[in-house]
Point group: C2
Chain length 343, copies 2
């Protein structure tokens, strides 16, 4: 089941499945469960685990586990253990989800800024104000330029940073007014408000193309997925700009700013002219800064192969040891997805 197919099937009967990774047109629900996927709407509506109410899964021993609504509940949260377990514990064969009422769609706002820090500060202030947009996305000038080059018809104005904010619910017009005021306070150089969903769609295309557009902008793309408290976002985007200025390769960022979750990309246009060791050093500096800002090295993309060497930076030995022991409960011989998550 492709995520978008579930979303569309629900929408056809007035219901809503909110977790929507940017790749929802090609991601599968099984993959979303394996990674506990987030997405654009997760700021307001939560991530995959907030919508999965039961799982059927087959263990390496051939036993069928029935969790949540497939059983009569859970002891020690078996559903939660399997969510985001990256295929290390069992093969999920059935997923029960809950759907919510489709909220009334509200205006979409595009706000452009001359400094990334101003955009990030607006995100932090919107969060503090109590307004909860259904989507609040950030992209820096380089990322937006990639998207503009990728699909020239979009013609979004160039700026140092852009916020795309969607509102929903009965009070969406009032929310949009408050968001406008906060963006103005932080010197937005451009503000657009689209109440018509079809016009808003043009703005969202800018966002949806981003991953492919950024990838197409360089020979090599090393993409990180970090997350900090929204109040620390100004410091994070400022650090990304520093990295970009310092190195010969590009460093740009975009992501679910409302959650403090940024995808930071190290973009090498001519790999033969750049020392890969320098790129790796840049990544390590980014991770160190993220942890200083009380952040985490993986927002929504899991651990897999690429983050496992950093696990000891995030988790203390006793806690990590207990996580590893959970693995042995399900797969004592380490046959499922070996080499992933743990070294």
């Amino acid at each position: 089941m492709i995520t978008l197919d579930l979303m569309n099937t629900a929408r056809a009967v007035g219901l809503f499945y909110p977790p929507d990774p940017a790749s929802c047109d090609e991601s599968s629900l099984g993959g979303n469960v394996a990674e506990n996927a987030g997405g654009l709407h997760c700021k307001k509506y939560g991530v995959t685990k907030d919508y999965v109410i039961g799982l059927r899964a087959v263990t390496i021993e051939g036993e069928v586990l029935c969790t949540g609504v497939y059983s009569e509940g859970d002891l020690f949260d078996l559903t939660g253990i399997l969510l985001g377990s990256e295929g290390l514990l069992a093969a999920v064969t059935e997923i029960a989800v809950r759907l919510i009422d489709l909220p009334r769609s509200g205006p979409t706002i595009l706000a452009a800024f001359d400094r990334p820090e101003n955009a990030a500060q607006a995100v932090s202030d919107i969060t503090c104000s109590g307004v909860i947009p259904s989507v609040m996305e950030y992209m820096d000038g380089d990322a937006a330029a990639c998207s503009n080059r990728y699909e020239k018809t979009l013609e979004i104005e160039q700026a140092a940073a852009i916020l795309l904010i969607e509102t929903s619910g009965e009070t969406s017009e009032k929310q949009a007014d408050q968001i406008y005021d906060i963006c103005r306070k932080h010197h937005a150089s451009l503000l657009k408000r689209e109440a018509n969903p079809e016009n808003a769609e043009r703005l969202w295309k800018l966002r949806r193309n981003l991953s492919k557009a950024v990838k197409a902008s360089a020979e090599e793309k090393i993409s990180e997925d970090i997350c900090v408290p929204p109040s620390r976002l100004p410091e994070l985007v400022s650090f990304v700009a520093e990295l970009n200025a310092e190195y010969s390769f590009r460093v740009n960022s975009y992501g679910h700013a409302g959650d403090g979750n940024l995808h930071v990309n190290f973009l090498v246009e001519r790999p033969d002219e750049v020392d890969i060791g320098l790129v790796e050093a840049g990544v390590r500096r980014l991770f160190a800064r993220t942890l200083e800002l009380d952040g985490t090295l993986t927002g929504e993309h899991g651990i897999g192969l690429t983050k496992k060497e950093y696990l000891h930076l995030e988790f203390d030995p006793a806690t990590l040891a207990h996580m590893k022991k959970i693995k042995t409960v399900f797969d004592a011989d380490n046959l499922l997805n070996p080499g992933k998550m743990f070294t």
Copy 2:
């Protein structure tokens, strides 16, 4: 930390900690975490686990576990495993909770009915309508009479069943209108609407006294905590009425109808005149009927000692075996809370 103290501290700065067991004036947050407690507001706002974002806990080996925000996240959902683990895995020493904005309070509705099934059908229809009350409580006539006797100044009209429904948020007046219409459709014999929170408080006192009032109404009270899908609630309340008519002891019920969660009480006024075997047979029949209705034998009160003999009715052997193995990860020698949950 007493739950109510956290709720009041949050409220003083415009914030809201929603999980509110009826005993919130004496329950502790630690106990709420151990049981993953629900409460009156959980229909709209979720249970304890929806608000706990990190735990510090000490294992029987003396290791300190740091989960969620106390670490940099969770693998295999350590926070979720400890929530509702009834003291079997580790001693929780610190709890990080998230708070939400205090919603605008809306009208409280009291609806009385001549038949319990009509009240239950109204609950089911309200659920289907998409209106989500912040609280939707049911009590049958016997339970309401207990509360009226317990505090005579309340003077709530006698009826076969009463619903107490609270609305919240920007659209609360509109919600209250819809709830009124649905209750009328199901032949409510009395409808009251209190927009003034102080007047509404008198109605809520009827509910808050219930546990003590029902206990005071009989020498012996055996209290069960079952849960069915809201659409099956009419069949459940009808079965409770059947049990009450059939036996010489009283059987009444009240609870979080919006979640399908009822507390069913077997009330023996003169224990020396009643065969306890008959009471136990009644409980077994209630459990069998609950499972037939796709329900669960424990809504929010956990497993503990009294439900452990029924675990095999709810969970298949393979799933239960994995739950037991999780216990051994944390406490291989079964030293923590021995004898609870598992035989």
